[in-house]
Amino acid sequence: MPTIVVEVMPKAELLDPAGKAVAGALHRLGHDRISDVRIGKRFELHVDGEVDAELLAAVEKVATDMLANTVIEDVVAVEVRGETAGASA
């Protein structure tokens, strides 16, 4: 069963208070070389059957219409992954 992966990140110019809190915790733990953290979302959409151009176009639309709010977030990736990805390695 193929999977379409959609990744969404808060817009670069906006403050990400959750990421900032994680960065602060990392610094307290001594990870001085990590300068910043930003937290995004990853959606895995499982598909019945093959992914065709029509479905991919529909997912790209729903990614910007619903999965992300493009006022505050950017869709940074829409990718197809096969079910067996990694299994044959």
Binding site: P10, L15, P17, A21, M66, L67, N69, V71, I72
Partner: protein, 231 residues
């Protein structure tokens, strides 16, 4: 006048909003998120809470729930719609108001009695105030930081669409101290603070005169009764 209050899964302040409508002299009508039926109401309140557990984004799933198709049509036809806190988040997710609301800049949930300045009285929900009037109503949110791009902020200011601004402190990092907005037509208003929690002596914010006597929120709900008479 019949004022509908929509209950979503996770709404918290729907009963308070209905009580506020009744105290103002209106007839509250309970509306359900899963129906495509506004029951003929004359105005609509989207209440506070954590609809759908704030999953995806605050207000995002509620904005796409069945009844919102009717709410959006009604709003576009001029029916007064008030979004309070999570209701404001639903209004921006439904694109009835511009911009977005993100996590408070300091990262904490905040609850305080908040002073606001009324910036616009040209709306169904604010016509009972005076421009420049200072009011105090409760604020309680974790994701109340209002943001929009500079061009949108300039347009909102230029067209007088900022309805309320935070006074004394900016509690959540909202750009230009914006606490609430109205749309161009004036029928849709959204704000993060909670007018429905300041409608009854004994249960509102403290005032100089007496503890918990603040009822500044009642004017929202009396304003809309006047608005319906005028139209």
């Amino acid at each position: 006048m019949r004022v509908g209050v929509v209950t979503f899964p996770g709404s918290l302040d729907d009963r308070d909003a209905m009580r506020a409508v009744r105290l103002a002299g209106g007839e509250p009508v309970a509306l359900w998120h899963g129906e495509h039926d506004l029951h003929g109401v004359d105005a609509i309140v989207l209440p506070g809470g954590f609809s759908y557990g704030d999953y995806l984004r605050c207000g995002a799933i509620a904005a796409r729930s069945p009844i919102m198709a009717e709410v959006i049509d009604a709003a576009n036809a001029g029916t007064p719609v008030l979004g309070i806190c999570n209701g404001f988040q639903i209004l921006v997710e439904a694109h009835l108001l511009p911009g977005g609301l993100i996590r408070n800049d300091h990262g904490d949930f905040i609850r305080r009695d908040q002073r606001l300045r009324v910036e616009s009285t040209d709306s169904a929900w604010t016509n009972g105030f005076e421009v420049g009037q200072e009011i105090t109503i409760p604020l309680k949110n974790g994701e109340g930081g209002y943001i929009a791009d500079e061009a949108t902020l300039d347009r909102l200011e230029g067209e007088g669409l900022v309805a309320f601004r935070y006074l004394d402190v900016n509690p959540n990092g909202s750009l230009r101290d914006i606490a609430g907005l109205r749309n161009e037509r004036g029928n849709v208003v959204g704000l993060m603070p909670h007018p429905e929690h300041a409608v009854e002596p004994g249960f509102g914010p403290d005032t100089r005169e007496a503890m918990r006597s603040g009822v500044d929120g009642l004017t929202f709900f009396t304003s809309v009764l006047t608005a319906s008479v005028l139209s």
